[in-house]
Each structure stands twice: as C-alpha cells, then as structure tokens.
C-alpha cells in the first residue's frame, strides 16, 4: 500500500466524518428552527434522523460519531436547563441513555455484506484507481472547504446573534437594578427626612437614631447606584449633583438637629419652618427622577436592541439551517456518488480479485514487517496453507525459505533496491519442497519507510524437472553422439555449424575454433568442394535433406570418402530451425563394394565360361543324341533287315536254318528291335530334359482322354475302362505333360493286361493340403518294398517277358513332374493295383 493510497482512503474517511458533522449541525439547526413549535419537547427526534442518514450514506464510524455529537448537542441545546450540561431531572439521564443506545444500535446495524472483496486486490487496485479518485478528491476538498467556511460564518453569525441578545437582556436587567437602586435611595431619603422632621418636632432620640440609619442606608444605596451607572457619564454627573445637593441638605438637617438639641424645640421648629428643607428635598427627588428617566430611556433603547438582535438571530438561524440542509443534501449526493464509484471500484476489485485467485501463482501481500496480510487461492494451492494459517506469519518462517543466498541478504537487496527476483526453495504444508520463482516488490510510504511487500511466487518444480530431464537428455545425446563411430554435427537454419562431436575433431585433427561456422571447408577436397557447396546451399534454400558422398581429409592428410546425410530439424510450423548432420566413413564399405564388384565380375566371367561350356556340352549332347537317333538306328535296321532277308530267302531251302536257326534269327530280330525301343525311349528322356518349357494352363483331363482313345485303338483286343474326371487343370508345358500322362496311362494299360476289364482312372485328390493328381489301375501292382527304385532309369519290377518295357517310362514321367516343380510317388500292393500320384507347382 503506497502513501498515496492511504491518503485517498483517509480522504474518503474525512469526507464521511465531515458529513456526520454536517448532519448533526443541520439537525441542531432544524431543531432550533422548530423551537417555537416544540419548546422543550422531543429534544432527540431530529438527531435520530441524522444518525440514520449518516449510517446509510457514510457508514458505521461516522454514524457513531454523529451519535456522540447528537447526544452532546441535544444535551446542551435542548435539555432543560438549556445551554448547559447540568442535569436536574433523572428522567433526562434515562432519555439520554436511550438515545445513545438506539443510535449506537442503528450505527452498528449491517445494511449489506461488503466484507469480502479481496483484500489483496483492494490493496493493488486502489493504487491503480488512485489517480482518478484523487482528482475527485481535490474537488471534494474544495467543496468541503467551502462548506466549512459557510458553516464557520453561520456559526459566528449565530454566536454574535446570541451574544447580542444576551447583552440586551443584561442591559434591561441593569436598568431595572439602576431603577431599583434609585428607588431605594429615594425611599431611604424619605425615611431620613421623616425621621429628621420627627426629631425636630419631638427631639426624641429615637428619631435621631432612625435618621442616622436611614442616612447610612441611603448612602449605601447611593453608592450602589453610582456603581451601577458607572458606565453612564450623564447619570454620574446627575449623581454628583445629587451628592452635592444631598450634602448641603444633610448640613441643613444636621444644623436643625443641633439647634433642636441645644436651643430646643422652638428654635428648631422655627428653623424648620424658616429653612427651605422642603425645597432642598424636592431638588434631590428631581435629580433622582432624572436618573430614573435616563435609565428608562436606556431601557427602551436596550429593549429595542434586544428585539432587533432576536429577529436577526432568527433570520440567520433560518437561512443557516436552510443552507446546512442544502449542504447536507449536496454532501449526501456527493458521498452517494462516491459510494457508487466505490462500489464500481469494489466490483472491479472483486473481479480482479477473482482473477488473482484464478492465478495459479501464489500472490502474497505483507506489511512493512513482512507479516503476511494477503494470501490468494494460488498460494493455498501451491503451499497447502490456508489464508487463516498464513496471516500474521512471515513468508520466510511459514515456508522455510531457502535460496542460493541467505534470506537475510535477500531481504537486504529487497530493502535496498525495492525489489528482488530469483529462485527459492519453499516447503509446503505437507513437508514437500518445491522450487519457486519468486518476485518481491517493496512498497514504501512518502518518507521511504517500507509499508508493504508484494510477493508473487510461481511453482517451477515441473519446469526444473523438465530442465533437468532436458539437461540429462542433452548429456545423453552428447554421450551418444561421441560414442557413435560417425562424425556428426549441428548447424543453425542458415548452415552455420555450431557443434561437432569429438569424433569429428579426432578424425580431422582440427579444433573447434577452426571449424566454427563454415570452417569445415578446409578439410574438403578443393575439387569436390564447389559441388558440395552448391548442393548444401540448395538444401539450405529448400529445406530438403542433404545426401552426398564426398571426401574429407583426415589428420593424416588422407582423403577418405564419407557418406554425408543432413536432416532438417523443423519446428511445429514446419520451419527449419536446425540441421543435424552425420558423416559416415565409407572407405571400408567402398573397398568392400569394389571387392564385391570385382568378385561379381569374376563370377559373371566364370558363369559365362561355365555357361559356354555347358552350352557346348549341350550341343555335344544334342549332336550325340542326333547321332544316336540316326546312326545307331541305321545299323540296327540293317541287322533286322538282313536277318529278315535271310529268313525269307533261305529258310525255306535250308533245313537247318528252318528249325533252330530260324528261332535264333527271330531272336536276333527281337533283340535288335528292343535296342531300337531302348534308343527311342532314351532319346525321349533326353529330349524331356533338354526341352524348353512353355508353361500355360493345361487341361489334363483332355490330354488323358486323347491318350485313352489312342490306347483303346492300339489295343483293340483289350476291354479297357477309363474313368477320367473332367476339368482337371494344371499350369505347365502341354507337350511334357502329354508325355507324362501317356507314359502313366500306357503303364496302366500294360500292367492291367491280365485284368478284364482293365480299369484305369485319372482323378485328383488332396495331399498335404495341396491338390494332387492320380492315375489308378486295377493291375498287378507291386511290392512297396521296391517303390524306391521305381522312378530310376532302366529300373524294372517285372520281367521283360511278363511285361515288355525299357524301364525308362517312369523316369521320364518323374523328370517331367520335377521340371514342373512337382512331386511323384506311388502306392501299390501286389495284385491289388497301383496308384501313381503327382503334383504340379501352382502358377506363380
């Protein structure tokens, strides 16, 4: 709270109390104005009204003040006896007590709840609102000064009026005293004359005594009269004359009395008759009358003056009271407006206070001694202490403040510089320590004494933890960056390199100073550098990542190829904020790649050589097969032909040749033909192996049907029943699959020779989750013990005489199936038929 703020509040308070004074003054005035009507009745009624008004407009304090002042005024002005604090009637004491009690009650009555409006907020924002409020305060002070002046003038006028009235009354009183005194002189004079006369006549001592007493009394009265009229010169002159007359008269009387005593009664009587006693007495009376007349004239003047003063006072009172009422109304309006403003401010304050309470920061106010006076909900939340617990303590003792510097030093800085900012450690109510960012501002009064302190603290434990985590992360990053075998570095968005890992310096043998920014160019090959610069500039301009291989010079002066990859690091808006680059030594890799290339080239060469060799071998094989096909058969045909010629031409003529010889010749022919078949089958097997594959969708069922038809035709004498499931398809080479099926079906026909009918089936089954084809027959079957040799070339399970064959058929079938990526196997039992299964790889 600044000095300025306090002045404003004091101004407020003053205005409110001035209003109380005004109200009581106005009430007094009004009551005085109603005096002729009310007399001494209802001395308090108007003061009740004043207290109620003050309570409503100015609040509790001023109302209590008005109560006190009203009590005094009523007591002094309106309780009998008036204008004094003397109380004669015990009922008046009771009535005073009642008045005081009721008014205190009215004052303490709480019209509405205005208690909670954020102490801290008020402290802060009253300062904020101080400037505008101050302006109206100046106006108000001027108004108050005017009002006070008017009140002073009114009071002095009233005072003068009252004084004048009192003076007039005093003068009337005085006049009556003078008249009394004059009357008294006159009567004592009469008594003295009468007593003197009696003595003169009688000579009786009694009369002489009476006369002496009367003279003494008259002297006393005359002295009183002289005293009373001391302020009136004319009267003093008359009294001087009176005294002179009186003394000559007294001499005469004394002479008369002496004459009577010495000469007797007659002389005295004669003297009494002779002298002019009577004349002298009349003269004395005439002077006294003149004094009376003067006094009566003065009385008249005084009475007139008193009446005029009364009327003036009444006017003054009326006008003054009217003015006071007017002032009261104006003041009331002004105060009402201020109160409205105040409410407005309080409303803002309350809103701001709510905002401050919404703040998660701890906002703490303290007085000049650092004793806490305000504690927001942020502080409650942050420290766990409630406002009630916190108020009256200092923050240091409540929160066990520790900082990097001793708290005393901290307070010293605050006292010296008026503010302190820094990080603190505070202990919460639950004993947990929290890191706090604190700001403390000291407030001073005009004399520079600290009167308050505002402390705003923020819990930065999370931030500290995050910072620590970040530091740790950075530490880990550095460790990682220095652990990897790559060189790596970071650059600003503009390509200025700010950091290299240790590996960079180890490899290049440079220092951080040499490398900073664009220093890296010194370890580049000057020939490669322009392209590197170009590509790097392009990446910097576009924000695209950079990938390039270029040589870097090592500390040994040798350039080694490095694969360099630079990734842009972007912020949330996608802007490049940093570049992160790595250089990976790929000399080893390149050596390896070169080696691989060399080996590949060698391998290719070798493969080409081998392929050529293989091709040559294949050509030879083909040539061989061709020769076999052509040249081997030709002599066989010759042997067969000439053997037959021998049989045809000579067997009939030669007895020997016709018997056993004929049998031998027939055997020559059959062996020859067997060799012919063998050659044909071998050629087919060879062809199957060499033939190029043309894979396509193949309808196996149709092939089987065609083969079956051919076989039926070839064996018209046999009853053959083929059961061929239609629609069996595979993906393969039609010609080769034709060969395979032909061989299998021919085999089936051959081995069902003893059966009538020979039943042969071609269908599909499932084997190990894949489709398999099967050719079954009801033929002679075989012993599974020999199944292993079944598919080898020249392998036979039956004798030639029983079932003719070369033993190459199944070998051929197996080769076809293998070339199709399939598998072939057989199941059989002697005399129970055989089943040949095969699979063909799916289309890729």
């Amino acid at each position: 709270m600044g000095g300025r703020t306090i002045r404003v509040i004091r101004g407020f308070t003053t205005a409110r109390y001035v209003m109380a004074v005004f109200a009581v003054a106005a009430a007094t005035g009004l009551r005085l104005a109603f005096e002729p009507l009310l007399g001494s009745n209802a001395p308090y009624i108007i003061f009740f009204a004043a207290v109620v008004v003050v309570r409503h407009l100015a609040g509790r304090g001023p109302a209590l003040a008005a109560t006190g002042m009203g009590l005094i005024c009523a007591w002094y002005f309106f309780l009998e006896p008036r204008f004094s604090f003397v109380v004669e009637d015990p009922g008046a004491i009771v009535s005073l007590g009642l008045f005081a009690g009721i008014c205190v009650g009215i004052s303490l009555l709480e019209p509405r709840d205005r208690r909670r409006s954020g102490r801290i907020a008020r402290a802060w924002l009253e300062e904020e609102f101080a400037a505008p409020v101050e302006k109206s305060t100046m106006r108000r002070i001027a108004m108050l000064a005017g009002s006070a002046l008017a009140l002073g003038i009114l009071a002095s006028l009233l005072w003068t009026g009252f004084k004048r009235s009192t003076e007039a009354e005093r003068l009337v009183e005085h006049t009556y005293q003078v008249l009394d005194a004059a009357g008294s002189v006159r009567s004592h004079l009469e008594r003295a004359q009468t007593a003197q006369r009696g003595y003169l006549l009688t000579g009786d001592q009694y009369y002489s005594d009476v006369y002496q007493a009367a003279i003494a009394s008259e002297r006393a009265a005359a002295a009183t009269l002289r005293l009373l009229t001391a302020d009136n010169h004319g009267q003093q002159v008359l009294l001087d004359e009176f005294d002179r007359q009186w003394r000559s008269r007294l001499d005469m009387v004394a002479n008369g009395i002496e004459v009577r005593r010495q000469q007797g009664m007659a002389a005295a009587a004669e003297l009494a008759h002779a002298n002019r006693g009577k004349e002298r007495g009349d003269r004395l009376r005439a002077i006294l009358d003149a004094v009376d007349d003067e006094e009566r004239r003065l009385l008249h003047i005084s009475t007139m003056a008193a009446s005029a003063a009364d009327s003036r006072t009444r006017w003054t009172l009326g006008v003054g009271t009217g003015s006071l009422v007017l002032l009261l109304i104006l003041a009331g309006a002004a105060i009402e407006r201020q109160i409205q403003e105040r409410h407005q401010v309080e409303k803002v304050l309350a809103r701001q206070a709510r905002l401050i309470d919404l703040s998660r920061d701890a906002v703490i106010t303290a007085d000049g001694n650092r004793v806490i006076t305000g504690w927001n909900s942020g502080a409650l939340e942050m420290y766990g202490w409630t406002e009630e617990q916190a108020l009256g303590k200092t923050a240091h003792e409540l929160l066990h403040t520790t900082a990097s510097i001793p708290t005393a030093e901290m307070d010293g800085i605050l006292a010296r510089e008026g503010r302190w900012e820094g990080e603190l450690t505070h202990t919460r109510s639950d004993g947990r320590q929290i890191a706090v960012e604190g700001r403390q501002v000291l407030q001073r009064d005009e004399a520079g004494r600290p009167i308050g302190c505002l402390e705003i603290n923020r819990d930065i434990s999370d931030r500290k933890a995050a910072e620590a985590a970040l530091r740790e992360g950075q530490e880990e990053f550095r460790m990682l960056a220095n652990a990897i075998p790559q060189l790596c570095w970071m650059a600003n968005a503009d390509g200025w390199i700010t950091w290299y890992n240790d590996r960079w310096y180890e490899y290049t043998g440079t220092t951080a100073e040499q490398m900073q920014g664009w220093g890296w160019q010194s370890v580049h090959n000057p020939e490669a550098l322009p392209e590197v610069m170009q590509r790097w500039s392009d990446s910097l301009a576009t924000g695209e990542r950079f990938d390039m291989v270029f040589p870097l010079r090592g500390r040994d002066g040798v350039f080694r190829p490095f694969l360099t990859r630079v990734m842009p690091v972007r912020d949330q808006g996608g802007r490049v904020v940093r570049w992160f680059g790595t250089n990976t030594d790929i000399s080893e890799q390149q050596r390896t790649e070169d080696e691989i290339r060399r080996l590949n080239a060698e391998l290719g060469q070798r493969v080409r050589e081998r392929t050529a060799e293989l091709e040559a071998a294949n050509k030879e094989l083909e040539a061989f097969a061709y020769s076999v096909s052509h040249d081997l058969r030709a002599p066989l045909r010759g042997i067969d032909g000439w053997t037959l010629a021998l049989i045809e031409d000579f067997c009939g003529q030669c007895e020997k040749l016709n018997g056993k010889g004929r049998g031998y010749l027939d055997r020559v022919r059959s062996e020859t033909q067997r060799i012919g078949h063998l050659i044909d089958d071998l050629l087919q097997l060879s062809r199957i192996t060499r033939a190029e594959m043309h894979r396509d969708a193949v309808d196996l069922s149709r092939i089987a049907e065609t083969v079956a038809a051919r076989l039926r035709e070839a064996h018209p004498q046999r009853r053959l029943e083929f059961a061929i499931r239609p629609g069996l398809k595979a993906f393969g080479d039609t010609r080769l699959l034709d060969v395979a099926l032909t061989n299998l079906l021919e085999n089936a026909v051959k081995f069902t020779a003893p059966r009538t009918p020979g039943r042969i089936a071609f269908e599909s089954v499932e084997s190990e989750g894949k489709p398999a084809f099967v050719v079954r027959d009801n033929g002679v079957g075989f012993d599974m013990a020999y199944a292993g040799t079944l598919f080898g070339a020249f392998q036979r399970l039956h004798s030639e005489s029983e079932f003719p064959g070369t033993g190459i058929g199944l070998a051929t079938v197996q080769r076809v199936i293998h070339r199709h990526g399939g598998r072939i196997w057989a199941e059989a039992e002697p005399d129970r038929g055989a089943s040949f299964y095969f699979t063909i790889a799916e289309q890729k």
């Binding site: 040249d631 030709a634 045909r637 067969d640 032909g641 033909q673």
Partner: protein
Amino acid sequence: MNNQKTILLIEDNTSDVDLTRRALEKGRIGNQLVVARDGEEALDYLWGERAFAGRDVSELPAVTLLDLKLPKIPGLEVLRRIRTDARTRRLPVVILTSSGEEQDLAAGYDLGANSYIRKPVDFIQFTQAIGQLGLYWLVWNEPPPAVKQPSQTSAV
C-alpha cells in the same frame, strides 16, 4: 505302273540302299531307282551337272527319297537348294530318315518337304512303309507340271 518314272534315292548307307531297293522290289515297284550317294551327286543329277551333264533335266524323278545325314551336302541343305532352284522347285521330296528329332521334322517341313517318314528299325514295317510310299507317289500322286524355263536350255 508307269515304268518311265524314276525314283531318286539320296542315301549314303549301302545297307540302307540295298534294303530300300529290296523293299521296293517286295512292293513290286519296278521303276528305275536312281541312287545318289551324297547331296552333291544328287543335285548334279537333278540339275544335269558334272557327272550328269547332258542329262535331260526336264525328266524329274516321280519322287525323291532324301536321307538327312549325308556326306558333303547335308539332306536339309539339299532340300533347300532343290526348292530354291526353279527347275526342281516342285519336285516331290519325301524325307526318309532314322532321325525322329523334332527340329529335323520342323526344318524338313519348313523347307518344303512333301512328306517325312522315319525309318522303322523293324524291317517288315520298313518294307510296308516303302511299298505304300512308292505306290502312293508313283500311282496315285499327280506329278507337278514341268517348269518352263528358257535359261534352262541355254545353260545346257
């Protein structure tokens, strides 16, 4: 049987020549069998050159039986030349060979062979084949018309 018509057998194997001749006889085909022992001789005969100079080349054989494996000029080359020369372009040529190789079959037909017979090892079958072949080409087959070529006469 038209005995003027000749059969040209181009074959180097004596045994096969004799067996062929025997088979023709067995088939009662008495036409003249001209045998050329190699491809060159065959072409000389057909075109009336060298040893056969002066032969009337307009007298084309009714059918030519061509073996593929021949000395000097192989059978398929012989066929190619026969077909490229205008005089022999239409000459019926039957390939008679031991080879059952697919590429031979394909090449033979591609070069314009009129038929392709694989000699069976079994001589009975061989005899049947030759007999039917002779009968077909000599009796039933209408020979192609002679090709008139002015250059031909001048060349002789």
